[in-house]
């Protein structure tokens, strides 16, 4: 085992392979935050009056709030006046088709493995690509429109579907919800909007790809998914950022509404730049994600693979309001070097016969700290609510930490709530068993880790699962012998 530890310490982390910068001319706001900047963003996006009012209200509320400090993470405070709140790749005119997208930009996405053209022809995934803060291109729009599915950037939605936006924006995550959601509400520059009409099952997976490119910018995108009665959609989200020495802020908000009998599956592979091996640089990932099962028999499922970011602060939650609704949360969080993650979920049982399932796997290596923080709340009227939570932690190395903070609040006698957690390392007997069968230690460790995370990986859509497995291997390369 000590041999394994030395190999572990000796081998350095493999390079973050998405760390390049694209030289695209960007349209930027000056750094700093004020009402003028909020007005500037709103004007830039040619937004209607009500949207500006909404933003200003959020901004004024944000001024009154203070940054939360309860999370189990330590980081130098963010200087909110040093951040540029708007950065968009310069575009000369409105685009009619994908072919008109800046070739440099398209090269960027090709490098990321998301070739917009290729995707369009070959695979069956509709992609909305967001660079810095602005949505660049959305593929498959036409085919989706035929079914009545709206899948477009948030700015487009504000212009074209104001009635839907007015109705749903901020309905799940109110602008006053927390410090970062208020900030996001004030300055969000773009994001994706997805609307699945009644009875429609989306024939393809919808996907958003986020990338921070410009220096000193913050990315504040906002995603809103509305699934009408009896509809189904599977939504994917991926993200990368260049390697920079400064910390960059990413404060997104994702809202999901599932009405009667609707189902939404939201999968994330988060791979923001985690900082170098000494903990310098990296993204602060302070994200608010929440879904509401508003209708009966509805279901929302969150799956996340978290490998990136210097500091993560993220709790995808489900409000189980409709009777018989279901919430799920599957997570693999990997931290290496000096990364810190405080992540988990909230399941709020309000309706009758609601069920939730939480499976969280934390893997810590290097000097990292990995925390699970979750809340399971069963209200007075949530008859027959059922929850099962499992959070397992794997420690690789003796300088990292694993923490579990599960909050369970039950106010109904018919509820059945279970929580279990374990923390362990890879057993020498397990390694020995594999060695005996001809696997070298490195392969053995990779095998065991893959098995550890499998329950969550199985929940990912095919295309993502492959990527996620590779990511897992890369982020732990060197730390596992």
């Amino acid at each position: 085992m000590s041999e394994m530890l030395t190999t572990l310490e000796q081998t350095a982390l493999s390079e973050y392979k998405y760390g390049w910068v694209t030289n695209i001319e960007a349209d930027e706001a000056p750094p700093g935050l004020s009402e003028d900047i909020v007005r500037f963003i709103s004007a830039k996006k040619n937004e209607p009056e009500w949207m500006l009012d909404w933003r200003l209200k959020a901004y004024r509320h944000w001024l009154k709030m203070s940054e939360p400090e309860w999370a189990n993470v330590k980081y130098p405070k963010v200087d909110y006046n040093a951040i540029k709140y708007y950065s968009a790749p310069k575009q000369k005119k409105t685009l009619n088709s994908l072919d008109e997208v800046d070739p440099e930009l398209r090269a960027t996405f090709e490098k990321l493995g998301i070739s917009l053209d290729e995707q369009k022809r070959l695979s069956n995934v509709a992609v909305d690509a967001v660079i810095d803060s602005v949505s660049i291109a959305t593929t498959f729009k036409k085919q989706l429109a035929e079914l009545g599915i709206i899948f477009c950037s948030m700015s487009e939605a504000i212009q074209e579907h104001p009635e839907l936006i007015k109705k749903w924006l901020g309905s799940v995550v109110p602008m006053t919800d927390n410090y970062f959601s208020a900030l996001n509400s004030a300055v969000f520059s773009d994001g994706s909007f997805c609307y699945i009409p009644k009875g429609v099952k989306s024939p393809m997976e919808l996907s958003t790809y986020f990338r921070i490119n410009a220096e000193n910018t913050g990315q504040f995108e906002r995603t809103l998914i509305v699934a009408e009665e009896g509809s189904y959609v599977s939504y994917l989200e991926g993200c990368t950022a260049p390697m920079r020495d400064e910390n960059q802020l990413h404060a997104a908000v994702v809202e999901i509404v599932a009405l009667d009998n609707a189902e939404v599956k939201y999968s994330t592979v988060q791979n923001w730049y985690p900082g170098d091996k000494d903990g310098k640089g990296g993204i602060y990932n302070f994200v608010t994600k929440r879904g509401i099962c508003a209708g009966v028999n509805s279901k929302i499922s969150w799956t996340q693979v978290e490998t990136g970011s210097a500091v993560t602060w993220k709790y995808p939650s489900v409000i189980l309001k409709g009777d018989n609704s279901q919430g799920e949360f599957y997570s693999v969080a990997v931290t290496n070097n000096h990364q810190q993650a405080d992540t988990g979920t909230k399941m709020m049982h309000i309706g009758k016969n609601t069920r939730s399932r939480i499976v969280s796997k934390g893997i810590s290596a290097g000097f990292s700290q990995n925390s699970y923080r979750g809340l399971v709340q069963v209200g007075k009227n949530a008859i027959n609510a059922r929850n099962f939570s499992q959070c397992d932690s794997l420690l690789l190395g003796d300088k990292c930490g694993a923490h579990t903070f599960p909050y369970i609040e039950v106010k109904n006698s018919t509820a059945q709530v279970e929580h279990e957690a374990t923390t362990s390392k890879i057993g020498e007997d397990q390694i020995f068993y594999c060695n005996q069968r001809g696997l070298d230690t490195e392969t053995a460790v990779a095998l065991i880790i893959n098995g550890f995370a499998k329950e969550v990986m199985n929940q990912l859509p095919m295309e993502f699962a492959v990527e996620a497995q590779k990511l897992l291997a890369i982020s732990l390369e060197g730390s596992v012998g």
Partner: protein, 435 residues
């Protein structure tokens, strides 16, 4: 809120602080911290589910007049087996030597006021251990007790002695005429190879409001064994915050069983600080409560050295409007390799107005460890009930049988027969259980 703080400050300032050395320092520090922090509100993470300020916000008297309590009063609540026990009686927070009954000889057991212990041969022990719990409870309630530490009691169990007579400690608040807030304080030193059993009970005489804010620090040396049994069975006008802070300084074994049957607002802090390799700590708890009782169990296990074992099991049966809180923290420090730490909390809710908030928390900094925690909140198993009913046992009796079986797992851990029988009897009556 500030009013309450000022009220208490006002009362404290009328008290004259005495004591020497570390005792005086602790009192002063406690007072300063209390002035700074006041009574914790629900915004304090450790007091999130317990509104202690509501309970404390009454016109409490600090009167330490203990003369009204007679031996006859004490007779009314002596625990079974007292004939063969050392009985220590605290009245309104202060040790009452006349009412107490020490059967063990002085070469086994030494009982001294802290103000004397801090001067004599025990000075080094007192200096090194008194106020150690403050490092784990940075709040106004603990600070308040520290301010009154000069009234405390020192108990020493001598080297190589196994104390035959268990120590029964009664904490009496005489609330016959006024509301009483008392601040009992003990420091118990269990020397090398010694063994002792402690039984604690709080008692309120009278019908006025009573609040006990107790801190007990226990230092356990190499090869020593300590058993701590707490029985809490009071009326709704009696509330308490009890902090038990155990330091294990050598290979040693400590068992703790906390039985909560009723009361007002009850907060139990139980800390185990495992400062030597190879320690064993067992913490068991049963709260079988109804009415408007609020029971809050906060436990901390701090594993600092390798090869230790800690085992924790808390079970709850909540009826009527009772509310329960469980917060278990396990720390495994970087040096504490090969630690095994287990924690489990199981709750049964019998009514829709009862509630439980639980937070089993693990913080682990060492990689070669086995740690697990689990918690469940639910109702009785329908299938088990059906099984019994199918065999001719009525629903009520079947429920009682299952609940009693649920509770017995904790009761079995009490290794003091008269006490175990006594608690079993109360629980059986509570659950309508007959054999």
């Amino acid at each position: 809120m500030s009013e309450l703080k000022e009220l208490i400050q006002d009362k404290i300032s009328k008290e004259s602080f005495s004591g020497n050395g570390s005792l005086k320092a602790l009192s002063q520090k406690g007072l300063e911290l209390f002035n700074e922090q006041g009574i914790p509100t629900v915004k304090h993470e450790e007091w999130k589910y317990t509104r202690i300020s509501v309970v404390l916000n009454k016109d409490f008297s600090y009167a330490v007049d203990a003369t009204a309590v007679t031996a006859k009063d004490v007779d009314a609540f002596r625990l079974p087996g007292h004939e063969a026990a050392n009985e220590l009686v605290f009245v309104n927070g202060i040790y009452h030597a006349e009412l107490s009954n020490i059967r063990s000889s002085a070469d086994e057991l030494v009982i001294l006021p802290l103000s004397e212990a801090v001067k004599g041969e025990y000075k080094a022990i007192v200096d090194a251990n008194l106020g150690h719990s403050a490092g784990y409870h940075n709040d106004g309630v603990n600070a308040l007790n520290n301010a009154f530490a000069y009234q405390g009691l020192f108990i020493s169990v001598k080297k190589n002695k196994s104390v035959e007579h268990p120590l029964y400690c009664y904490y009496i608040n005489d609330a016959r005429t006024v509301n009483v807030l008392s601040q009992p304080r003990t420091l118990i030193h269990v020397a090398v190879n010694a063994e002792v059993k402690l039984v604690e009970e709080e008692v309120t005489i009278g019908t006025s409001d009573s609040f006990i804010n107790k801190v007990s620090e226990i230092v356990v040396e190499e090869n020593a064994q300590v058993h701590i049994y707490k029985i809490q069975n009071e009326d709704s006008h009696s509330s308490c915050v009890k902090t038990t802070h155990v330091r294990q300084l050598g290979v040693s074994k400590v068992n703790s069983v906390t039985i909560t049957l009723n009361g007002g607002t009850i907060r139990n802090n139980l800390n185990f600080i495992l400062e030597a390799p190879g320690c064993e700590s067992n913490m068991y708890g049963l709260y079988c409560v109804k009415g408007n009782t609020h029971i809050d169990n906060h436990t901390i296990v701090d594993n600092q050295q390798p090869h230790s074992l800690s085992n924790e099991l808390y079970k709850g049966i909540m009826d009527e409007n009772a509310t329960g809180v469980f917060n278990g923290k396990i720390f495994v420090r970087q040096d504490a390799q090969k630690t095994n730490a287990y924690q489990s909390n199981k709750n049964v809710l019998l009514s829709d107005t009862a509630s439980v908030n639980t937070k089993p928390q693990l913080e682990i900094f060492a990689d070669d460890v086995k740690c697990s925690h689990g918690c469940t909140i639910g109702r009785l198993d329908d299938e088990a009930l059906f099984y019994l009913q199918a065999r001719g046992i009525g629903e009520k009796a079947a429920k009682a049988l299952l609940l009693h079986a649920f509770a017995i797992e904790i009761l079995e851990k009490i290794e003091l027969e008269p006490i175990r029988q006594y608690v079993d009897q109360i629980i059986s009556e509570r659950l309508d259980f007959e054999i």
